[in-house]
């Protein structure tokens, strides 16, 4: 009985705390987390396709750059890269601004936290996406590329009409994976001060001393985000591979 009463108390405290404004803040946290993830995925898609192209190039120099990129950014801890971009970026910006005289010699020019964060996470995401794109390109049936050449298509037409649609089809499952990684990496940029879900949960936990409550709620919210994205990617996969599944 006592246990049940205790639980009831807990639930009503939780309700009060969430209703008192923390609930809305957590929802904003979700919005920022999604914004960071989406922007990072887009930055990663651009970088990833360039790096994949470099790794597939027949020029040794480009291949070396591509290989180094994926080795470094998959091989370093994410947190280190975020610190490097945020604090390192601040140092560089400050140095440049001081030397050009745009700020005083004791002022500091901060790296914008959202920008620094999504750049770091986007670059990491790009390293994983590059591998996905490269594998997808290699999985395209060579004969179809050859047919595109044989029918007089220019490199650009082959890219647009044959390579991109097929790479996208083959990449969807792998991209779903990277999306989950990127959602989780977005939590790390709380260190730069972006008020995404992790930072908000942290703030709530510290100022109310209800750590168990807020970290559990945040955990559930992350799980909701990652598990909602799974059926979306499955649907995309069904759509893009419709030419290979039996028609009903």
């Amino acid at each position: 009985m006592e246990f049940l009463n205790d639980l009831k108390d807990q639930v009503s405290t939780a309700y009060e705390l969430l209703a008192a404004g923390w609930g809305v803040q957590l929802l904003w946290g979700i919005a920022w987390t999604l914004a960071v993830t989406v922007v990072s995925m887009l930055i990663g898609a651009v970088l990833g396709s360039l790096v994949a192209a470099a790794k597939l190039s027949h020029r040794g120099g480009l291949r070396f750059i591509g290989e180094s990129y994926t080795t470094v950014f998959r091989g370093e801890p994410e947190l280190l890269i975020i610190y490097l971009f945020y604090y390192g970026g601040t140092q560089v910006l400050t140095g440049v601004a001081r030397s050009t005289g745009s700020i005083g010699s004791t002022d500091i020019l901060n790296m914008p936290s959202f920008l620094g964060g999504v750049l770091a996470v986007g670059i990491i995401s790009g390293a994983y996406q590059a591998e996905v794109f490269r594998g997808s390109f290699l999985a395209i049936h060579r004969g179809e590329l050859e047919a595109a050449r044989a029918y007089g298509m220019s490199a650009w037409l082959r890219f647009r009409l044959v390579i991109v649609p097929q790479v996208l089809r083959l990449a969807v499952p792998g991209l779903g994976n990277v999306w989950q990684l990127t959602i989780k990496d977005s939590a790390l940029i709380s260190v730069t001060g972006v008020a995404e879900l992790m930072l908000t949960a942290n703030k709530a936990a510290r100022s109310t001393h209800h750590s168990l409550l807020f970290y559990t709620v945040a955990g559930i919210l992350y799980l909701v985000m990652t598990s909602v994205s799974t059926p979306i990617f499955e649907k995309a996969e069904r759509y893009t591979s419709r030419s290979f599944t039996r028609p009903k």
Binding site: E144, E146, L161, V162
Partner: protein
């Protein structure tokens, strides 16, 4: 200078006028292995040339060198009298001097592949209109109309909205032939079009090819179908170890094989 002009004038008025494809002294090595040892070929408009040879004789390589899917090491290729210009690459190998010219010429040399190579993410109809609309820049409505007519002709109009992986090999190859026809090509190149098919599906593809030959299309056909070579083609060319062993009129060639190699080759087929 005047000699050049005279030569050009002669070329314009000579039988080359009717030349669809002319290959002179084509050579190609893969590593140390010389696959083509100086092949020459003359195809006039309306010719149906069957190219025979055992595997490794270089017949597919020769076909692929004509539309530059492989780059020949030396020799010249003319399509409709136009020389494909080549230059020396940085690695010392020959390469096309003007890729735009090659792309334009390829669009006139529609190829049909052994493994069909239809674009698997497009429906059959999309496969037929992709190159005509994007490469030849013809209006889409006109291309769609032609595509439907071609699919009726090869007997797979009902499958126009299917994706290639959902069709049989014979249907895919007929779709691939329709895709080639949609380019209104000057010459059609067939690279062992029936070799990947189940035996019972070969007939439907050969029937389409025979009807193309009968309407006077210029075709180069690398094939193992002796019946097609003998009964349909206007010329047979037999390659042996990277060289042209013999060329001739099919009935004559099969009745009286001109060389021991060709005799041996058809004897092996009749076993």
């Amino acid at each position: 200078m005047s000699a050049n002009v005279a030569a050009a004038a002669q070329a314009a008025s000579s039988p080359e006028d009717k030349s669809a494809i002319s290959v002179k002294d084509m050579r190609k090595c893969f590593g140390d292995h010389e696959v083509l040892k100086g092949i020459s070929l003359e195809a006039h408009k309306g010719d149906v040339i069957s190219i025979l040879g055992s595997s490794g004789s270089g017949k597919s390589t020769m076909l692929r060198c004509i539309n530059l899917l492989e780059t020949p090491d030396s020799g010249e290729v003319r399509v409709d009298g136009e020389l494909i210009r080549m230059k020396q690459g940085r690695d010392g190998r020959q390469m096309p001097a003007d890729i735009r010219q090659v792309e334009r010429i390829r669009a006139n040399l529609a190829m049909v592949f052994q493994s069909f190579n239809l674009w698997s993410h497009m429906t059959v109809l999309e496969n037929l209109v992709a190159a005509p609309t994007h490469v030849l820049k013809r209006p889409r409505a006109e291309c769609l109309e032609q595509a439907e007519a071609l699919l009726k002709r090869v007997g797979i109009w009902e499958r126009r909205n299917y994706y290639p992986p959902h069709m049989s090999g014979g249907q895919q190859q007929r779709a691939a032939i329709a895709r080639a026809l949609a380019m209104n090509p000057k010459v059609m190149l067939f690279d062992e079009p029936t070799s990947a098919l189940d035996p019972e599906l070969v007939g439907e593809v050969l029937r389409v090819m025979r009807s193309l030959a009968e309407e006077g299309r210029t075709m180069l056909v690398v094939t193992h179908e002796m019946g097609f070579a003998r009964d349909v083609s206007s010329k047979v060319m037999f390659l042996h170890k990277g060289e042209v062993d013999s060329v001739g009129e099919p009935k004559e060639m099969f009745a009286r094989p001109p060389t021991p190699q060709f005799k041996q080759f058809i004897a092996n087929f009749n076993k």
